[in-house]
């Protein structure tokens, strides 16, 4: 069983998070743009409410043992300031039952935590 981490972060923080994950030995990440709102129902400026705020979704599949560490890494780097602010994002964790590498067709049992090319 593997674990999928999906993190919604501010677009301007995405590069920082990606760099931190790379340094921590988690190079494999997929990134895509999303738009959404949170508990605060978007941002209200004057009479206008913006409820489709652009964010970046980072998806990574890791070993369950590394879950805590990856969450910690994302949390630290994606936070605004030391206290954080509304709109910093969310992290979702789900189970992955099977994972396959297409180039080799191999079913992965576990992913190496330090991503070093052989």
């Amino acid at each position: 069983m593997l674990t999928m981490i999906r993190a919604i972060v501010r677009p301007e923080k995405a590069d920082k998070v990606l760099a931190a994950l790379m340094d921590a030995g988690f190079p494999s990440v997929t990134k895509y743009s999303v738009a959404g709102r949170g508990k605060q129902r978007g941002i209200k400026i004057g009479d206008v409410t913006y409820d489709e705020i652009p964010k970046v979704m980072l998806m990574s599949v890791i070993n369950p043992a590394d879950k805590e560490f990856v969450i910690e890494t994302i949390m630290k780097t994606a936070k605004s300031g030391s206290k954080g602010a509304f709109g910093d994002g969310k992290i979702f964790v789900s189970d992955v039952e099977e994972a396959y590498t297409i180039s080799s067709g191999v079913r992965e049992i576990a992913f190496a935590s330090a991503g070093v090319a052989p």
Binding site: M4, P27, V61, D95, V96, E98, A99, I102, G115, V116
Partner: protein, 124 residues
């Protein structure tokens, strides 16, 4: 019910669509994404460096470059999972690194908005 998420090459989308239809999963959802893997070196870049292109050399130095990919999401019945995964592997496999990954996740429920029916009936 299972959710199959595949990261595939951009230029493989047409073949992937056909293969999914043949495997019995007509309905799917895709979007553009960028990603990186274990960090293997692109063979073309390596060739370029050998031939002395400075651009290639600078690319080689860049760590964790993101490559454009497509993210394909298919929700299928349990008995179709193996067929769909095999179809995705067979059509997307070139044998080089960067072919992508396939993940299979459990999916609790699905609802067809038009009729309100839920469960495996809604995704046939």
């Amino acid at each position: 019910m299972k959710e199959v998420i595949a990261v595939v090459r951009m230029n493989m989308m047409n073949q992937t669509k056909e293969a999914l239809t043949k495997a019995g999963a007509d309905a799917f959802f895709a979007h553009e994404a960028q990603g990186r893997g274990k960090g293997f070196v692109n063979p073309k870049v390596l060739e370029g460096t050998k031939e002395g292109y400075e651009e290639a050399a600078s690319l080689l130095g860049a760590k964790g470059q993101l490559y454009p990919k497509r993210l394909v999401t298919v929700v299928v019945r349990d008995e179709l999972v193996d067929d769909v995964v095999q179809a995705l592997i067979v059509t997307n496999q070139t044998g080089r690194s960067g072919d992508g990954k396939i993940f299979v996740l459990p999916m609790a429920d699905a609802v067809r908005v038009r009729t309100g029916e839920s469960g495996s009936k809604s995704i046939v």
